[in-house]
Symmetry: C2
Subunit: 347 residues, 2 copies
């Protein structure tokens, strides 16, 4: 019988001992100019003033930032790329070319993932499961997105200058990469709840927060039940890119489930841009949770400012064709429990 039979949540660490759980020994965060101007700007490792990252197309720019972040993460962990057994990475572009083309130069065994903006969560869940299962000393979990390549892929040509609705979000440009290791110093990944696909019939691709909130509610409710703990177990619960509207909806949905999220819940998409930055509902994209965790929350975990957090990257799994065919938006959210340096076992 598998570990934690009957639960949707994976508990990491030998016999549930969080001290032996996989740890995040380094993170790298590289962003574009707009993210650098936001409230978290000083937390990121690199703020590029060139949204092209020295390349001549948006897609090549995204591959470049994906490569740089993975290599920087290994470097910050004091590892050579050869020490990384697997890279797990994904992005939003058609056929995940941001990751595939970026990882050519990295030269490590590669698992391409697609979970839309939940991809960083998917990469952490699978990465921690591989490390904790004994399959690797070190893996890198990474996710990238780029405002320009995403607008082109999902919405309208940028050249049109299309006006955005208030519910629309702004795709984060950048890549966040985490080294997940079997040993070494760093916050532990002590548990994770892999999400199911939830589709409540929302069809507005400019209101992804509304589409994704029910998927987060499903995963969170399951996580709390499995862990026999509520929201107050965490110092911070941070969803990936619900944005302002999705965030309010989630608070409502969870209230109906009997959970109060008003005290310690935020959303990476709400945190990353200031109100003056014209990002409407907030940030989105695979990089939103990835760089906000890697740049911002990771530092708070290592410095002891946060003891326990639940990171819940959130994904809307539509494409342009499904929208035109009248389909609603399936969504998914993966919850990853990360504990800072002072591990206490009160589960």
């Amino acid at each position: 019988m598998y570990k934690n039979a009957g639960k949707q949540t994976l508990i990491f660490g030998n016999d549930g001992d969080p001290a032996s759980a996989p740890r995040i020994t380094a993170c790298a965060s590289i962003v574009g100019p707009k993210e650098g101007e936001g409230p978290l700007g000083r937390d990121f490792d690199v703020v590029s003033q060139d949204i092209m990252f020295g390349k001549d197309t948006w897609e090549k720019a995204e591959s470049e930032v994906a490569r740089q972040a993975v290599e920087m993460a290994a470097n910050k962990a004091g590892l050579r790329l050869e020490d990384i057994r697997f890279v797990l990475a994904g992005d939003l572009l058609n056929q995940c070319i941001g990751s595939s083309f970026g990882m050519r130069a990295v030269g490590r065994p590669f698992f391409g993932l697609f979970g839309a903006c939940s991809t960083f969560g998917e990469a952490l869940v699978l990465g921690a499961a591989l490390v904790d299962g004994g399959w690797a000393d070190h893996v890198i979990s990474s996710a990238s997105s780029h405002f320009c390549s995403a607008e082109k892929t999902f919405r309208f040509p940028l050249e049109l200058g299309t006006q955005r609705t208030p519910t629309a979000s702004w795709t984060v440009t950048g890549d966040g990469a985490a080294v997940v290791s079997a040993f070494g110093d760093g916050p532990r990944i002590t548990a994770a709840t892999a999400g199911k696909i939830v589709d409540m019939g929302i069809k507005d691709v400019s209101n992804m927060g509304a589409a994704m909130a029910p998927a987060v509610a499903d995963t969170l409710t399951r996580h709390f039940a499995d862990m026999n703990a509520g929201p107050d177990h965490y110092d911070v619960i941070a969803t990936g890119d619900l944005g302002r509207i999705g965030k309010e909806l989630l608070i409502e949905l969870m209230f109906k489930e009997g959970y109060d999220l008003t005290k310690n819940f935020t959303d990476c998409g709400v945190e990353i841009y200031g109100p003056e930055q014209d990002a409407h509902a907030g940030g989105s994209g695979c990089a939103c949770a990835a760089v906000t965790f890697s740049g911002h929350f990771y530092k708070k975990l290592t410095s002891g400012k946060i003891g326990k957090m639940l990171l819940v990257p959130t994904g809307a799994l539509m494409n342009q064709t499904t929208a035109m065919q009248g389909e609603s938006i399936p969504s998914i959210a993966h919850a990853v429990r990360i504990e800072g340096m002072q591990i206490t076992d009160n589960r």
Copy 2:
């Protein structure tokens, strides 16, 4: 230190005991009319005479066949969907909508994968690692593709009736799904070698066999070195969708590495269509390896006609935009070692 440190290959089973390795307790294979007319037609569980699978768009058809195959696989294994801890699935469509929309109804925790036509291999590697690591009793690994949706995504509108080059392949319509379990009867997944991305500069998107052959050579060479065994260790080595041209190239490349593949090597893309079916270089697409394994080779493994096989699904990781931007084609191949009912340990 992780299991099999220093090697690219994962060895499954406690202490390398193949009898305790994850096993494939059931497979489901559903295909379209052209695949049903091919040489393997009688091996598939379902041959649909309707390439639309009762739906009104090609994309909805692909989601439908993906759903049907996953549900059929669970059913054939004697399991309810609730018994499946995770579904790992992917496809070729933009943002993997074949899988995401198909898996809505399945309602299980979901990991979306993108490895182009290597996806079935990626799903088996990660699925076996999750089961062998103790994270699940049962997972389903699945991959789908559809001729019409793939042509539209990667090449030209079907309505144009564009003439195909002799090196072009024909995307397989269907889905192959395997139940990977910690217990029960079935061929064992005893080892797997996760591939690196290899790009030798091939730019012709109508000659994917040439682009992918070097990636297969890289994975195979590493697999043979890690296992201290050559091609003659296997009754069958089957690549995913190199097609006729890629198959010949791989034989040459491996000959230069000192390995003779002429005796027991075939390609699922070569097997699935007959010469009279006008499929040019052969079959391709995520479903090519998935249905050929699930329909054809799985039966040979369970009936004892094959003792050991190495399945090597192969993926070309480009998209339409990268081709137009002058990029070459990154490729990847994952090797999965599968042993029939009579396990003998001669490693």
